[in-house]
């Protein structure tokens, strides 16, 4: 059974429909790259899939359940996010930030149990960030911060992690490291959905590309197929000779 699927979903704001008739499926362990131009609706689609924003019409299902019918506290155990915005309080320590990932599970005062500590330990291990444990967020480089934010999402222990442009602002080495980390995460059975403009790098790790274009249905294909067939060029409106 799929982890998440949509039925005839339309997304947008108010009267403005960005994309309609979407029937998308996310399988367990899939790493999906969402590509398209700025303003095409990538973030809106992600927000709608996460239940942050209501669909204009149609439904998002997690397993068999419509996302609307899942209480926020339960949904937080199914989907975690890494957003483009930085966390508000920059003087949190890395450990405090990652422990906030256990928010849906921890006690009513936020006290952590053995299972919470174990999940945090796994997140530190997977992201290889033990050495940052006591650092404050404002002391981290962009690449370190991104790994810490991913670790926080991992500590939330959800089946699906949604990341909005996780590689922006990073240098090439950090882009590669973050994408490889996400690939590794997806091999543990979690599904990962990222939006990205790093077509060539993402193509090396993603299982599938979802290509969005203005007024077009979403194109779904293997990354290599999509690049070779010229579809990527088309939906990014690129000139011949690029890519």
């Amino acid at each position: 059974m799929s982890l998440l699927h949509t039925h005839d979903l339309a997304i947008g704001y108010g009267k403005k429909t960005l994309s309609a008739g979407l029937n998308l499926v996310i399988e367990p362990g899939q790493l999906i790259g969402l590509i398209g131009q700025n303003g095409v609706g990538k973030s809106t689609l992600m927000r709608t899939l996460c239940g942050f924003q209501a669909a204009l019409s149609g439904e998002v299902f997690i397993g068999e359940k419509a996302i609307k019918s899942i209480p926020a506290s339960e949904l937080a155990k199914k989907i975690s996010v890494v957003l483009t915005e930085k966390p508000g309080a920059q003087n949190l320590t890395v450990l405090e930030l990652i422990s906030l990932g256990r928010h849906p599970y921890s006690g009513w005062l936020g006290q952590l149990r053995e299972a919470d500590v174990a999940a945090m330990e796994r997140a530190f291990e997977q992201c290889q960030i033990h050495y940052l444990l006591e650092k404050r967020l404002h002391q981290l480089s962009d690449g370190q911060l991104q790994k810490v934010m991913i670790a926080r999402a991992l500590a939330q222990d959800t089946d699906l992690i949604v990341l909005d442009e996780p590689t922006s602002h990073l240098d090439l080495r950090n882009k590669v490291e973050v994408l490889e980390l996400l690939k590794h995460v997806s091999t543990t059975g979690k599904s990962v959905l990222i939006s990205t403009h790093e077509i060539t790098l993402a193509a090396k790790v993603c299982d599938t590309f979802w290509g969005m274009d203005f007024g077009q249905p979403i194109a779904i294909d293997l990354p290599d197929n999509m690049i070779r067939s010229g579809q990527v060029k088309q939906l990014l409106h690129l000139q011949e000779g690029v890519l």
């Binding site: 996010v81 920059q90 009513w108």
Partner: protein
């Protein structure tokens, strides 16, 4: 590895809290020992552990004046500090605080309505003391709630400190204007009652009034502990907080109710007290370098109580017969602190990302 880290940090924090608790006890003893009549600390200590004093005059001064006043100072410091802490986190704004956001003015409006309308209908002195006290608390809390809700609606959209300050100040002056109009149309004795209230005082509370203030503040403290998990999630920003399963509307409402209750009840009894609510949370963050509300809540309670007791000792001008209004002391010490705070913003922004 994490478990190990938690263990060392727990023992570190245990030390901090024991230290603060000892400081609180010492300052409390000092505060009831000092005043226009000097009572030796050893005697006040005996008094506190329940031994009757030989000197009946001292006994009476301690029971009827100094003990209720010191207890009031503890409640006021804790309540104002907590409401400032929660406003700063909710509005993600370092200059938020009960006095600056006009919350104290709102409470003042509630109090003014009770005093002026109560007097004009001739019922203010007619009702039992306890009922009147509760009426004051409820109307002051409602006044704060009103102001905080409106300012809150603006502040959630406005992240800019200056704009928020201006809105708070405008609220303050609008409400002062309303209160002036009420004063203009009322008799001298009502005006006197209101003006005396607006000076701020810790010493005017009877044991009966403390029986109203204490449960409200203790309830607010407990609610603050219960809210600290939600407040921590808010530190990440609204979107992350939502993704952690937090209901933003409920959370904001609970915080606004709690802060109005804390700031409103204190203001009802002690008048508008400036700067404590703003400065104490910053002091706690700077001294102990943490943003975690589960730690900040007890830290602010203890620091607020200690600071308020010290302010009160200063206001007593020990050794003299004169007493300064408490609001003058908190403003004299608080205003320079806030100026300094704004000037060294390069450090401040780490807590608020501005």
């Amino acid at each position: 590895m994490i478990r190990q880290h938690f263990d060392t940090s727990i023992s570190k924090w245990r030390l901090v809290f024991v230290g603060l608790a000892v400081a609180l006890v010492l300052v409390f003893l000092l505060s009831i020992a000092l005043g226009s009549v000097r009572i030796p600390i050893s005697h006040t200590f005996h008094f506190l552990i329940g031994q009757p004093l030989e000197n009946a005059g001292w006994q009476s001064i301690l029971i009827n004046f100094r003990l209720p006043k010191a207890l009031t100072a503890v409640l006021v410091g804790a309540a104002l500090g907590l409401s400032g802490l929660q406003m700063q986190t909710l509005f993600r704004n370092p200059v938020a605080g009960p006095f600056i956001l006009g919350v104290s003015s709102g409470a003042g409006l509630g109090v003014a309505l009770v005093i002026f309308l109560g007097f004009s209908f001739g019922v203010y002195f007619g009702i039992p003391d306890l009922a009147r006290d509760w009426l004051l608390v409820v109307s002051a809390a409602l006044g704060s709630f009103l102001v905080l809700s409106v300012v809150g609606l603006a502040a959630i959209r406005i992240r800019n400190s200056v704009s928020l300050l201006i809105i708070g100040l405008m609220f303050g002056s609008t409400i002062s204007a309303v209160v002036s109009i009420m004063q203009y149309f009322s008799q001298a004795e009502n005006i006197q009652a209101y003006v005396i209230w607006s000076f701020g005082s810790l010493g005017s509370l009877s044991w009966g009034e403390l029986q109203v203030l204490a449960p409200v503040v203790i309830f607010g403290c407990l609610l603050s502990f219960a809210l600290s998990k939600r407040l921590n999630a808010l530190l990440l920003g609204d979107n992350y907080a939502t993704s952690l399963g937090l209901n933003l509307k409920t959370t904001r409402l609970l915080i606004i109710v709690n802060t109005s209750l804390l700031a409103g009840s204190v203001t009802a009894f002690c008048g508008p007290i400036a700067f404590v609510g703003l400065a104490i949370p910053h002091l706690a963050r700077m001294l102990f370098n943490t943003s975690n509300h589960l730690l900040l809540t007890p830290l602010v309670i203890l620091l607020g109580a200690v600071a308020m007791l010290i302010f009160d000792i200063i206001a007593q001008l020990p050794g003299s017969d004169a007493v300064l209004p408490i609001n003058a002391v908190t403003s004299l010490l608080g205003a320079p602190f806030v100026i300094w705070l704004v000037l060294r913003r390069n450090n401040l922004h780490y807590s608020f990302d501005q």
